[in-house]
Amino acid sequence: MSSATVVQQHSVPQPAQHGKPGGMIRHFNVVTAVILGLVLATIFGFLANRLVPSGATGATFAPVLPDVGFLAILIGWVLGFMIGIGAFIGPFRWLMGRDLTHADAEYLAGKDMGVGRYFRYTTDHKVVGIQYLVGFMVIIGLGGLLAMLIRTELGVTWAGVFSPDSYNTLIGTHGIAMIIAMIIAISGPVGNFIVPIMIGARDMAFPRLNALSFWLLAAAVPCLVASMFAGGIRDGWSVYQPLASQSPPGMIGYQITIIVFAISTGIASVNLMTTILRMRAKGMTWARTPVLVYGIFGAALMGLYAFPFYQYSQILALSDRIFGTSFFNPVEGGSVWLYENLFWLLGHPEVYVILLPSIAVCLELIPVFMRKPLFAMGFAIAGVVGVVIMSGLVWAHHMYMTGWAPFANYPFMLSTEMISIPVGFLVLVAIGTLWRGTAWTRLPLMAVYAVIFNKMIGGVTGIYLSDVPADQFFHGSMFVVAHFHYMLMGAGLFGAMAGIAFYFPKMTGHILDERMGSIGLWTAFAGFQLTFGSMFVAGLQGQPRRVLQFDNLFNISNWLSTIGAYTIGIGMLIFLAAIIFSWRNGKVASGNPWASKSLEWQTPTPVPLENFTVLPVVTERPYDYGVPDPYATAQKTSSDKAGVQ
């Protein structure tokens, strides 16, 4: 612990140690969580079954029991899971005045606990980071599997692999699973594991909230999976009302997932922001703060203000469904535009919640591999700030064609096209840092090349979509699907791969296998170009999105897309194999295998509990690589000579 050897004039009452360190939480882990979750789900389901009269119907003459029953089961699951993991012990202890002793806090952080700490309500930020990493890979695996199934249907339309209902379920579940996965992709693992070390802190600001945010996510995702067995989410990831109100009870799975996930994201954002604002090491001024910290902070800030709208849109929709209110039911006075506005008030900032950390992690690692400082860091920060400010002002570009306010199209087109300027700054910083550098072509840097390439294509196609007249053709077509996959997958997921490859040695203690990882990366990259390049063509030809049958005109582009999608699948499996193989028995990494100069690489690997024995003091700007520019010195001497003459 820190050397707090001050004379205590006003003493703070010391909490008493109740029993062994940790207290009640010693008895809880993921097994008790699952058991208690299932038990409570069963009890709640049983109670719903008893309390709702059989054959009861709601206002729309639909039977009430499936909805109420499924809702009760899910609430039971989430409550039971959170009780079983020990999430309610903290508030209870606070209420009873049984504060944590230092030994309690160390137990909670998983001191001397071995692998078991990954399966508990462990507060150490490094444990939470690893949990997020695994959670991310599990969710993205689920979403990727669904994507393969979607492309199977679209590639062999003559076979009719899925019924329309199953197909719509695939689309909706794929969409929301991938959105959740990408939101946590970097802010989760890197934000939790790396950022506190990077800024020289011993842990996050609120370690217990940190554990809570992960375990809420762990409670939410099974609801999404359960929904697939209760009729599914048939309405795309945006679940526009009132279509969603026609859905089977599976929709409730979506709503509960989002409501719980929004809480998880909200407290994770609070935690990250407070950590970054309050816990930077001595001497780490804003100018000395690495750009990744800015990126994560920006993403957390957007999550903070945007997620409640999404959460409340789902709360209102759930209320419509269960209590018969009519927020989104036009027959009784509800408005579909209200839903669209609430949804997209999150929906667009969320895109940048995914993109900003991804771009920031790329900017963070380019200097290390190019052995030169980050180019124009002020522009990088201006870019992040600009994106954060403007992302809240562009949501209605998703609603150009809804007719809700034709004259609003002018200002929203303006703001949407203006956001290309801050995003352009980030590209400038990236290519400026590549400029004249010596490329150390390791896997993380190569992934950055893939990201910049995809980002450019996504950005250029984005300007068509930002323009109302062009959007009048492209809205709701496959062109949009290809565009946002270039952004969220091409830039987001490949950026996450870059970040994972870069921080893998610090997080796991092993080097990610270069050869296998590269094969995976480039296979996925090639497949990606084929899949979504062809999808652009299908969109240009006029194929609407989310269809399972289409005119013969679109056959060729869809076949190519499907071939590409399988290639992505193979590439991603290879990359996953590289991760698993390297994690288990890869080459052991030294503390600083990339010879990076930033703070997180100066700690030993594996990083000890509380990270630093003595808290560091920062005295330099970040990215202090490189030698003086020969051209600049040549120019200077020549101009000096000119001055002398």
């Binding site: 329309p164 030169k372 860091m377 609407p544 101009s639």
Partner: protein, 286 residues
Amino acid sequence: MAHQTLFDSDEPEAPTNRPAATGRIREWVSRPYARAILILTVVIGFVLLPLAWLILAAMNQTGAPASPIMEEIEKTVFWFTIVSIPMTAFVFAVLVYSLLGWKRISSDDPPMQESPAIRTNRTGTIMWTVVSSVLAFFLVVWGMIELAAITANSYGTIPADQQPGDEQPLIVNVTGQQWVWTFEYPGYDGATTPVLYLEKDRPVYFNVTSKDVIHNFWAVELGVKIDANPGAATQTGVTPTKAGVFNVRCAELCGLHHAYMETTIEVLPKEVFAAAMREMGGGKTS
């Protein structure tokens, strides 16, 4: 102050008697890498250039453009492609050159060699900012003008009955419901058809609504797209300028048979249209 250190350049203070701008540009271009990147940019730009026409070719496969609106859309897409090619080509050129042109190391150990410590470059950043701002400004101005143009060509600011020209515009009430489109012609005794009949060169106004969920009325080759919202009516319009058979698709997921919610548009010459309307039961022309 933190801000000062943030935006300070690491370059040596610019001497007051720097060489003239032209001289500096000449010096910069004389550097081998600069020349190579410029050439690479031009080459990549010319490789990408055909995209501008290929994109239009893909859009025109089913007979577009069939209306002034679609022509405006295609013009927008064409020029946006053209203006975004130079910037894209430049970025790609830097990517390629940084891998192939400048030094490259692929050892397992961190390279000992350090690169030039370029913390910023005033000329470069200013140029990038100016160029990207000018491009964004161009996009906005172009977009505003085009949006005003298609607005005037569609629902517009002028009421339907005050449009110039001797012919009254055709009014069509479009109703979406799961999973069919219904077209009602109030000017023709409310005749109702499952296929959209339009008259060539006669402006048509669509009132669009839905009876259940949100649909999206997309007349593909005419460049018309508007949501069919339950509980609200939206307006748009177009003047078809090409006779032929075109597509209507639903562009908003609307449930089970969303994929099959499509129909055709028949743009007919004046006499044929009148005959078709009579056949549908709408004898009276308005």
